[in-house]
């Protein structure tokens, strides 16, 4: 079980989360040319090692998170909310986030 430290809920089983995708992909503007969209939607670095990826805490706080995780060891280096505004809110309230205390 990968244990993901959700910045809102605390450390939880990965089965509460849904894996998203490679978070390093920058999606182009909606009207960007086909080549840009082709690259964003279909092509991947597929890193063996530490990558940035998105997960959603589907059965928890429903936040989309950016997780820095090693794809070879499953070790997690960092987690933050994908939404910068949410990340800022949690940073402000972060003293007892998710501890339930």
């Amino acid at each position: 079980m990968i244990r993901i430290p959700c910045p809102f809920c605390g450390e939880r089983d990965h089965s509460e989360f849904a894996y998203g995708k490679d978070a390093s992909v920058q999606y182009p503007p909606l009207d960007a040319p086909l080549e840009d969209w082709h690259e964003a939607v279909f092509l991947r670095d597929n890193i063996r090692g530490v990558q940035l990826e998105t997960w959603q805490h589907l059965h928890g706080c429903r936040q989309w998170l950016v997780v820095e995780r090693d794809t070879a060891t499953h070790h997690i280096h960092s987690v933050r909310a994908a939404h910068p505004g949410v990340a800022a809110v949690l940073a402000g309230a972060g003293n007892d986030a998710g501890s339930g205390k």
């Binding site: 079980m1 990968i2 244990r3 089983d13 990965h14 849904a18 998203g20 978070a23 999606y27 503007p29 909606l30 009207d31 960007a32 040319p33 086909l34 840009d36 969209w37 082709h38 964003a40 939607v41 279909f42 998105t54 959603q56 589907l58 429903r62 936040q63 989309w64 060891t73 499953h74 909310a81 994908a82 939404h83 910068p84 505004g85 949410v86």
Partner: protein, 1009 residues
């Protein structure tokens, strides 16, 4: 003579007798017995038949590594609880236990399958790869498949019941600071030390008693220490679980445990689960799982009467069973000496064969001699003699580095200690690589030093006292790592024997034809390993797969190391010329296989817990579920929902019912539960802009009080989902999605808002469970709604025009949302009430609809109505379809970009000859055809076809069968031509016309009212 129960001693409760049966014969044991100890005490020695050669087998161990005494336990009841391949050595005895031999016919004593043993020279490892191909007949597999039938029947050990398992199982979750695996001296010490430092400690032990090896030592020697350690752990606050196996370690310091709750009970309470699967999240895990004693390969080393020396110690001291009267103990290390002495003290005649030279065993021999035990250095077992149990042992003596025949020794038990293998399986699960320790002749594994620690024999520490200290050291280290005060205790060095082990894995002499088992559970012999070497299967991975070494139910606990040693020896001989029998093979060069979980086999029932039968997945019910059932609904599956399929009256069939229902909607009015549609509140100042990005059509200018049908694409430009979205206020929308994609769309919107477009101020909230929905459709729908509306003026054409949205109160105050939208092509409404008022809403609507001659209609009629109109649903929108394919190209707004707008322009998605949505009608109007049929050109009923039929119904409005589907080029390309709906898996081909999908009321006059 065979084994017998001693008149006193042991950790069994002699005050109580437990009757049980073995192959139908009644025997007696005591609480504290295992099935194996009770069988031995009862004089039963031949207990199993081996996997491949059906060789006779007895009790070989006292634990989970058992390879001989595998039995079938009948279980209570009608046979549904039959449990094959149970290791008698770990099955606790209970009153009424009924066990029987397996993999034998007619029984394990007289087994006709034993003929396989006589043919064994023709059945070496991998023989089946080289034969059974037969002549090439028909497809080429005919001969093999004929042979396979017989091979399958011969293989397979025990027979599982075919009846549903009647027992319940459950999951449980636990959290702790430290999980200690193993309740022996190391584990108990580790747990107590960590708990005293203030940590929350969970200790798990697979046995039914705590104590580990202390239980196997004489009560007089170890009893006091064990009591003290148990008391220490208990008073420190350690939570201890027995009958609980840590079967696997996983990422994140998570362990899987199986707790056997009722397997030892004669008559468990019906509400207890049979087993419980625990997921434990720890911050540190201490593996103190002990070590497993090995044997060595010698002739007939699997005969009943051949047993591990440590196992014999367990039977003697824990169960008060003396395994024989004339006992040969064969060893290459110090650990067999205490048991030899204890057996002699219990009255057996004991002789020790020690493979080590005289000068290395002199002191041990002197001590043993004082107890009347002869120790023969340079000696080892060569072949066990006796057809069904051991009657004598041929001995090998070493001279000048060579084994030679050394005479024959009458005996009734041969106890073997070939060294010890630390139980490093759990560490290996997490990637800890096994490393060969040449000095101690065993694999050890480095725990990662952070989350994982080891202690005791699992760390190759052989001495009880040192094991205890190692536990204290590990417990203290875990405590310090978790920020607690604990003393620094030095971890004792591995090992601990006075005289070093002599690595020895096989004993053989030139010219002797021996059947020497390496992995007895899979009948892998020493010759098989050499054959694998000869054929080039020399890597550990190839060796195990070719010979099946270590792939049996004990996971190689008994045989792996010996197999690796023999391969190393063979490789050494090949490269060095002649490695010689006495050489220490380079096992490290062969490597070890990765241990995979589970440590011991785990019942699938436990892993699935309560997700079984009707609860395999939760059932999602609409608030009208019961209401629908009470009105005769037959349900069908829609994702996790059950939805009304049709409402038969007076014994109607499905076809009769849905045709009536659809006709009623067209003629008067019908009600349909549409609660399962996904419903999402989309709120915020940027909600309109957001909708414009996710839908292909425009929403920004949708007026408040109006709804619009929208389609969403995926990033790749193919259709994701469709539905209507209602504008409730400037900043507040109510979106509906399909039933199938409700959850997908919700998560997708959240992803877009949180990851891709965080600047948009939009909140989405699922309100699917908040609102219950009912479609009211048909020419009389307005009348029905007016009849139950608290203020009917809210329903006038002016107040609620086509695609209008409003609030209304019906049935005396039920606050509803209503929209005038139609899926059926009739004048129709969707009405939503808060879920707890759903049945009240339905009562009110139904009273009015029934009075108007209306009906309730289900999914089948819904389908008929939408097929007549050419509306697409999941059968058409299957993830491979574009807007244009579905005839919805006009839904793509020009001049705005939306999700998928770029990639939908890819050339292959824009081809004119793509399959496009069409209507389909049989040429012979009386003919019927099926969804799933392939549309072909007449006369060309082969190949990939020109299209396919997605949905078919009998149209009550048109009076014949119709369908929709996709065909190359669409209707325009087929004008004036007919096609054939080919359906070879179900029906004869039917000639059809390709027509517009809008088959009924194409202008939509009825819908607009």
């Amino acid at each position: 003579m065979s084994a017998r129960r001693l008149p006193d001693g042991g950790r069994i409760d002699r005050a109580e007798a437990l009757r049980f049966t073995w192959d139908g014969a009644e025997l007696t044991g005591h609480p504290g017995d295992t099935l194996a100890s009770a069988l031995l005490a009862g004089g039963v020695q031949l207990i199993g038949r081996s996997f491949k050669y059906h060789r006779p087998r007895g009790v070989m161990s006292a634990g989970v590594e058992e390879s001989g005494a595998l039995v079938t336990v009948a279980g209570a009841g009608d046979g549904a609880r039959r449990d094959p391949n149970v290791k008698a050595t770990v099955q606790e005895l209970y009153a009424g236990l009924a066990a029987a031999g397996q993999n034998a016919w007619p029984n394990v004593r007289f087994d006709l399958g034993a003929a396989a043993n006589r043919l064994s020279r023709f059945l070496p490892a991998g023989f089946y790869y080289k034969t059974f191909m037969g002549p090439r007949i028909k497809g080429g597999t005919t001969v093999w498949m004929l042979c396979e039938k017989f091979i399958r029947r011969a293989a397979g050990m025990g027979a599982a019941s075919r009846l549903p398992d009647p027992d319940q199982y459950e999951h449980a979750h636990a959290f702790c600071d430290v999980l200690v695996v193993g309740g022996g001296p190391a584990g108990l010490a580790a747990a107590a030390t960590a708990a005293r430092a203030g940590l929350d400690v969970l200790l798990v032990e697979q046995d039914f008693q705590l104590g580990g090896d202390l239980l196997n030592q004489p009560l007089a020697d170890a009893g006091e220490l064990l009591a003290e350690m148990l008391d220490d752990a208990r008073s420190a606050g350690v939570r201890a679980m027995t009958r609980t196996t840590a079967f696997g370690l996983y990422d994140g310091c998570v362990a899987g445990l199986i707790e056997r709750v009722t397997d030892h009970l004669a008559d468990p309470a019906p509400f207890l689960p049979r087993q419980r699967f625990w997921t434990v999240r720890a911050r540190r895990i201490i593996v103190a799982a002990g070590a497993l004693e090995r044997h060595f390969a010698f002739g007939n080393n699997d005969r009943p009467g051949v047993m591990g020396a440590a196992a014999a110690r367990a039977y003697l001291n824990r169960y008060a069973v003396l395994p024989g009267e004339r006992i040969v103990v064969a060893t290459n290390n110090d650990s067999a000496y205490p048991v030899a002495g204890e057996l002699a003290a219990a009255g057996a005649a004991v002789e020790v064969l020690d493979a080590r030279p005289a000068d290395r065993v002199r002191q041990l021999a002197q001590q043993a001699g004082a107890r009347g035990i002869t120790v023969r250095p340079h000696c080892a077992p060569l072949r066990a003699v006796g057809a069904r149990r051991v009657k004598a042992l041929e001995v090998a003596m070493e001279e000048g580095g060579r084994w030679r025949h050394g005479g024959r020794q009458a005996c009734d038990a041969v106890l073997v200690s070939g060294g010890w293998s630390p139980a490093i399986h759990l560490i290996s699960h997490l990637g800890g690589k096994p490393r060969w320790n040449r000095r101690l002749a065993c694999f050890t594994a480095d725990a990662n030093g952070e989350s994982l620690l080891t202690a005791g024999a699992a760390a190759a520490i052989w001495d009880t006292g040192a094991c205890r200290v190692s536990g204290q050291a590990a417990g203290a280290a875990a405590a310090r790592a978790l920020g607690k005060d604990a003393p620094g205790i030095a971890m004792p060095a591995p090992g601990g024997w006075r005289s070093p082990i002599r690595p020895l894995y096989e004993v053989r002499v030139p010219g002797a034809h021996l059947k020497s088992m390496v992995d007895p559970l899979n009948d892998v012999t020493a010759d098989d390993v050499r054959l694998a070497h000869r054929e080039g299967f020399t890597s550990v991975e190839h060796l195990k797969r070719y010979t099946t070494l270590g792939m049996s139910a004990d996971g190689g606990k008994m045989g792996n190391v010996i197999g690796l040693a023999l391969m190393a020896e063979a490789l050494g001989r090949a490269s060095d010329g002649d490695g010689g029998d006495g050489a220490d093979p380079d096992i490290a060069a062969v490597g070890a296989t990765t241990f995979r979980p589970p440590y011991t086999p785990v019942a699938l029932g436990a892993l699935r817990g309560r997700s079984v039968g009707g609860h395999f997945r939760p059932l999602r019910r609409t608030p009208m579920h019961q209401w629908n059932l009470e009105r005769g609904a037959v349900m069908t599956i829609a994702g996790l929902w059950e939805r009304p399929w049709y409402y038969p009256r007076h014994g109607e069939t499905l076809d009769q019912a849905y045709i009536r229902e659809a006709a009623t909607v067209r003629e008067s009015v019908g009600l349909c539960d549409v609660t399962s549609l996904g419903k999402i509140a989309v709120q915020g100042p940027d909600a309109a802009a957001f909708l414009d990005r996710i839908y292909t059509n425009r929403f920004a200018h949708l007026p408040v009080g109006k709804a619009r049908y929208g389609i969403m694409l995926r990033d790749d430009g193919l259709v994701l989902d469709d539905g209507t979205t209602w504008r409730l206020s400037e900043t507040d929308y109510f979106m509906t999605t399909t039933t199938a994609h409700a959850a997908t769309v919700m998560a997708w919107l959240e992803e877009l808002l949180q990851v891709r477009w965080p600047a948009l101020r939009v909140h989405v909230a699922s309100v699917s469970d908040q609102w219950a929905g009912c479609a009211v459709a048909g020419p009389k729908s307005h009348r029905v709604l007016s009849a139950c509306a608290d203020s009917p003026e809210a329903l006038t054409d002016h107040a609620l025009p086509f695609m209008g949205v409003g609030r209304m109160s019906l049935g005396g105050g039920i606050p509803c949302r209503i929209a005038r939208i139609s899926f059926s092509g009739e004048l129709a409404y969707e009405v939503y009430a808060p879920s707890d008022y759903a049945t009240a809403m339905m009562d009110a609507l139904w009273a009015a609809a029934e009075a108007a001659g209306g009906c309730l209609y289900g999914l089948e009629a819904l389908g008929a109505l939408r097929i007549e109109k050419g509306h697409v649903t999941g059968a058409e929108l299957d993830g491979r379809v574009t807007l244009d394919d579905a005839g919805l190209g006009r839904m793509a707004a020009k001049g705005k970009a939306f999700i998928g707008s770029t990639l939908r322009a890819r050339p292959e998605l824009q081809r004119e000859d793509r399959p496009k949505l069409v209507g389909i009608r049989p040429k012979d109007r009386a003919a019927r055809f099926n969804a799933g049929a392939i549309l072909c050109r007449p006369g060309q009923l082969s190949g990939l076809g020109e299209g396919w039929v997605t949905a078919v119904t009998h149209s009550p409005a048109l009076g014949h069968w119709i369908g929709i589907g996709f065909i190359r080029g669409g209707e325009a390309a087929w004008r004036g031509q007919s096609a054939v709906a080919a359906d070879p898996v179900r029906a004869a081909p039917v000639e059809v016309d390709i027509i517009s999908p809008h088959m009924f009321d194409p202008d939509g006059a009825r819908m607009r009212g």
